[in-house]
């Protein structure tokens, strides 16, 4: 299966990564190459094989649904590229 530039643009949109035309074509070729190479996985018979989610070594644990290190507003905001008081700022999203 061969990838077209329109698909690359759609994927870039989903991934929220801006692309120019030249990059889209370069990436189309590279991703096409990688996808061609991973096609070899179709040779493996996976009938009745469950997907491996983790190694199965860690036991699932539950914890109380409670804040464990709260009241650290300044820490949380410390690396904000832009803030206003106790808030992160973004461009206007509602007209």
């Amino acid at each position: 299966m061969s990838l077209d530039t329109r698909t690359v643009r759609r994927i870039a949109k989903l991934a929220r990564i801006g692309l120019d035309d030249r990059e889209a074509e370069g990436l189309r070729q590279e991703l096409d190459g990688i996808l061609g190479w991973v096609e070899q996985l179709n040779e493996v018979d996976i009938t009745d094989v469950p997907p491996m989610i983790g190694t199965g070594l860690a036991r699932p644990r539950v914890r109380e649904d409670a804040v464990t290190d709260g009241d650290r507003r300044e820490d949380v905001l410390a690396n904000a590229p832009e803030r206003e008081g106790p808030f992160f700022t973004v461009p206007k999203v509602v007209e």
Binding site: T7, V8, I11, A12, L14, A15, R16, I17, G18, L19, L27, E30, L31, G33, I34, L35, W37, V38, Q40, L41, N42, V44, I46, V49, P50, P51, M52, I53, G54, T55, L57, A58, R59, P60, R61, R63, R72, D75, V76, A78, N79, A80, P81, E82, F88, V90, P91, V93
Partner: protein
């Protein structure tokens, strides 16, 4: 103090033959003189280290202090360090200062280790060359005989490997997702251990592929790695994949020997185009273990060739999800735009390098509607088959022996342009990562050009001790003592 191992420094510090301040000063000096050429460190913290050394000396004078009290280490710049910039070698985190400490570095600090700085890596740990760092590539301290060509240190923990190899630190932390500790250790002639998945907490380590990432030690020999791993490892309830098991004293396992041990030699690792030197070194490794009383047994891991393509689907899918948080809103460099979507797109285009963008897109594609089953779900099922290969091999043998990498270090300008060719560097290391079993690489010899080559040992879940025991036998037999062209001859 020249060319001291971490283990020797521990003994000398405890006996008060040297002081922690002397030790840290000489290493700070080594970094100052060599880092311009090697670029192993993104950030150095000499004054902070010197203060910590003074405190360590006070403890040592009282006969106190933890496992690594006064030992100068490098920290891969993927571990969050409280109040010290942590970049993941990416422009998007260029000025990020974490307000918390990663579990692994906190463990090391509580055992008295002293951090001299943050080591360079492939951006977000994505690469096998250390050429994808936003802070410039790392140069391997080794040179081919009769050549000045700058070689890559391997990746992604290339800065850590180079810093240890060049004598800038006694050990360094690495992380291994598909070989990122073992392959650079092999390229730089040092020892690196990727423990069992779940042995070291991932809390506070910047995530690449969560189901694979595992921290581990990189140092000059196995004893050094044993002390570091004991300090780094341990259960952490903040990481849901951390496994609640006591941490053994790994150093006690070193001299166990290999009498009666069965060593598996996986048939499928004999790649038809493997360089003869690597094949010969592998044979040598088998002979060393046989002479020490182990029995080599041929085993089959039939899904070996599917390890890499499976890895690139699973790891990239997880990466696209993990890296979604870097959007220029809560942290990281922001590129302004008129709308929120445009802000995200511009920020992520500018902030991520080419390899990271390529991998995020690939990961987003295999997770996208219509392709999820064909790629991601299928890869997870093949991953089960790879895990089963290892489990059935370990019913017959105690440990597996393979080469670490398909070549020695190559030059900066010899890097293949085809991404798939670059990915093939990890062909021997990736399957163990997929299964989550522990593995290590140790320097076993030199190639015809005078460059180090590594051998890999792979073990059962949580049986790092057998790896240390078998590795120690090979380490003694190999007697690897050559130092790279760039090596700090630092005195007290």
């Amino acid at each position: 103090m020249t060319d001291m191992t971490l283990a020797a420094a521990r003994r000398a510090l405890a006996a008060r033959e040297i002081s922690a301040v002397e030790l840290v000063d000489s290493h700070n000096k080594a970094i100052e003189s060599l880092n311009g050429d090697v670029n192993a460190f993104i950030i150095t913290t000499p004054e902070q280290a010197r203060e910590a050394a003074k405190a360590a000396d006070t403890l040592l004078a009282k006969g106190e202090g933890g496992l690594l009290c006064g030992i100068p280490l490098g920290v891969k710049d993927l571990f969050c360090t409280n109040g010290v910039r942590t970049t993941a070698a990416s422009n998007i985190l260029r000025d990020f200062v974490p307000p918390y400490e990663s579990a692994v570095t906190a463990n090391l600090l509580s055992e008295g280790a002293i951090f001299l700085g943050k080591t360079n890596l492939d951006e977000f740990a994505m690469g096998s060359t250390n050429l994808t760092s936003a802070f410039g590539g790392v140069t391997n301290p080794w040179r081919r005989s009769g050549s000045d060509a700058k070689l890559v240190p391997g990746g992604s923990s290339g800065g850590s490997a180079a810093a240890v190899a060049a004598g800038m630190v006694l050990g360094a932390t690495g992380t291994d997702t598909g070989g990122s500790i073992r392959q650079p250790a092999a390229f730089c002639g040092i020892t690196g251990v990727k423990p069992t998945y779940g042995r070291c907490s991932r809390f506070g380590t910047i995530a690449f592929a969560s189901s694979l990432d595992q921290a581990g030690p990189m140092a000059r020999n196995l004893e050094d790695c044993a002390w570091m791993l004991e300090a780094m490892a341990g259960f952490d309830k903040r990481d849901s994949t951390s496994v609640d098991r006591p941490v053994p004293r790994y150093a006690d396992a070193l001299e166990r020997g290999v009498k009666g041990m069965k060593v598996g030699i996986p048939r499928e690792y004999r790649a038809p185009n493997m360089p003869r030197e690597i094949e010969a070194l592998w044979e040598q490794g088998i002979a060393w273990l046989r002479e020490a009383g182990a029995e080599p047994v041929e085993v089959s891991l039939p899904h070996t060739k599917y390890g890499l393509p499976t890895y690139y689907i699973v790891a990239l899918a997880e990466a696209s999800s993990n890296l979604a948080r870097y959007d220029g809103v809560r942290f990281g460099e922001r590129v302004k735009a008129d709308s929120l979507d445009a802000l995200y797109e511009a920020t992520r285009h500018a902030g991520f390098g080419e390899e990271v963008r390529r991998r995020i897109l690939m990961g987003t594609y295999v997770l996208s509607s219509g392709y999820y089953d064909a790629y991601y779900l299928r890869a997870q099922k093949v991953r089960t088959m790879i895990q089963r290969d290892f489990l059935s091999a370990f019913e017959k043998v105690d440990v597996l022996l393979t080469p670490t990498a398909p070549s020695a270090a190559f030059a900066h300008d010899e890097k293949p342009t085809d991404p798939v060719q670059v990915y093939l560097n990890d062909v021997f290391t990736v399957p163990a990562s997929m299964a989550g079993v522990p593995a290590l690489s140790l320097p076993a010899g030199l190639d015809a050009q005078g460059l180090p080559l590594g051998l890999q040992l792979i073990g059962r879940y949580f049986d790092e001790e057998t790896l240390f025991a078998a590795g120690r036998v090979m380490e003694k037999a190999a007697g690897f003592s050559t130092r790279p062209a760039l090596f700090a001859e630092f005195g007290a």
